[in-house]
Symmetry: C2
Subunit: 330 residues, 2 copies
């Protein structure tokens, strides 16, 4: 089958490509299917991870603009079986530039769905949404029935994308699956401008021999999911019969609710006291205000019933980082 | 102050214009203000209701396309104090034509908000949303915290419009107020293709000497609000301080939860047994399936706290129709 991926140069895209190359079988509601074609799309040339496999699919890459119908028509061709739509302007950028966020996060998603209407068969579309759809006055435990009142442009744009995916699915134009991602940790790479950057930094940097800054109190709780578990859940989503989603294709993925103090204790278990000592408290009221407004406790009954799963615990999250992404200190 | 109205030719627009002409004072968070300019916009020439007033505002009309930024730039000029955005493709039309619904309900709202960014001051924007934003597996009583999982393209487009209004408000680009309207009854005019058309027909036609068809069981409950109460609530919305809305500008308006049997009893009280006998049961499983999926019971705590109000009861709803809209049988 033909799998198309937008945002393929991003870190989740790269991990999903590596997963497909390592094992070019993916679930479908009708049973496992072999990926024969993998079409990668991004604004920059998507790297192809060096993973060898006995039966590699044919890989093509395309550099283009997600808001240009012509680019997407070329990408999808006459038929696409599965589209994994990861292309997005991230939260800090969408907040800094409303037009850019609307253009990529709303118009990009809509253009992709419009182009899908021209295909021979309705494709399956997996859409990465975010915990940022939640906000405002939230209950102590967020459930599948909690209203979405996002407090960021990124969150608002993700809600709109979810509505498009749901409505196009209800009309039979696509077969959509919307996964709301928790805070992803431990991200590979370097610290970035995201308010949640510290959640990865306080594990990643100390385990690579570097120092990290903790801008929030140790009592603060976060809802975390490892990149490895995100990929496993995206793959799992492909095999679920559409009817099992009920009246909405949107699912909040399960995560681990972990206090920062628990993260630091797990860091010490993985890297010893030296690693723990590389984390330095440096309170930042701005970051605390943003991250403290995110919900940390979820009842993800729907995701659980559909077979999605979280990491076992924070130690498993750290172990996944060490196995997949740690760069050894020289 | 300058008041701009889109969808001004529609029946709610016409009633709001009549209200403003009868009393050209409107509330604002800073106290009552006189309407000096009233700018009416629609795809057809908006009629001007024949209401005389001591101090009529200057009225202008414009025929245009809500999705054309040029038309809206001309409409708003350099400044608009209040924009009442009623222009929309209704539910049955949006379901029949996805492109038309997206163009008017989503693109039209977005274009209006984009043009607002060019004004000298952020305007207040009142947006008419709908009970159609609710759907799917709903709790017995819908609350302000119930998730929106619309089961129509119209509902999905209204959710997206709400997100735009909320995000633009949060960013300080407008001062938005979103009113989710219950089923409006008794609508003036003739029956239409809407699934809820009977809710007005079974009162309006018999009180005008005509017969009406009842396609649903008498046990079915509806959440009703009179056009008079909708207008009163729209006017009320203008005076509420922005901060009182909290983390979301969206409010489900209160309505009367009324069983069809109660509507028929009230019809008989208002029009006698002869009126009641003009309603003929003619079950329609299709209409029952659609209308039966709408929530009828709401806890509108937020609207109540903000001072919005419903009609007293079904008799008051019928009395409002008789006073404002009944066309006497010849």
């Amino acid at each position: 089958m033909k799998v198309v991926m937008t945002g393929a140069a991003g870190f989740l895209g790269q991990k999903l490509i590596a997963r497909i190359l390592a094992d070019p079988q993916l679930p479908s509601p009708q049973g496992p299917r072999a990926v024969t074609q993998l079409c990668l799309f991004d604004v920059v040339e998507p790297p192809i991870p060096a993973v060898s496999s006995a039966k590699s699919p044919a890989i093509s890459t395309q550099v283009g603009d997600i808001t240009r119908a012509d680019d997407l028509t070329q990408l999808l061709g006459e038929q696409a079986d599965v589209i994994v739509h990861l292309a997005a302007v991230v939260s800090s950028a969408a907040e800094a530039d409303l037009d850019l966020g609307l253009r990529v996060n709303l118009d990009g998603t809509r253009t992709l769905l419009e182009v899908c209407r021209g295909l021979a068969q309705p494709p399956m579309v997996v859409f990465a949404s975010s915990v940022a759809v939640y906000g405002g006055a939230l209950p102590a435990v967020v459930t599948d029935n909690t209203a979405l009142t996002p407090q960021s442009s990124y969150g608002a744009q993700k809600v709109m994308g979810e509505q498009l995916i749901n409505d196009f699915s209800r009309r039979g134009l696509i077969d959509g699956r919307v996964l709301r991602l928790p805070t992803i940790a431990v991200r590979p790479g370097r610290p970035n401008a995201a308010a949640s950057s510290f959640a990865s930094s306080i594990i990643r940097e100390p385990l690579q021999g570097e120092t990290a800054v903790l801008p929030v109190p140790e009592t603060l709780a976060l809802n975390l999911l490892s990149p490895r578990a995100v990929i496993a859940n995206m793959v799992h989503a492909l095999g679920i019969p559409a009817a099992d989603f009920g009246a909405s294709r949107s699912v909040m993925l399960p995560g681990c609710c972990v206090a920062v103090s628990d993260m630091l204790a797990a860091l010490e278990r993985a890297g010893g006291p030296a690693a723990r000592e590389r984390v330095h408290a440096q309170p930042d009221a701005g970051i605390e205000a943003i991250v403290g407004g995110w919900p940390a406790r979820f009842d993800t009954a729907k995701a659980n019933a559909l077979g999605f799963s979280a990491d076992r615990d924070i130690d498993a999250i750290i172990a996944a980082f060490i196995e997949e992404d740690r760069i050894d200190a020289c």
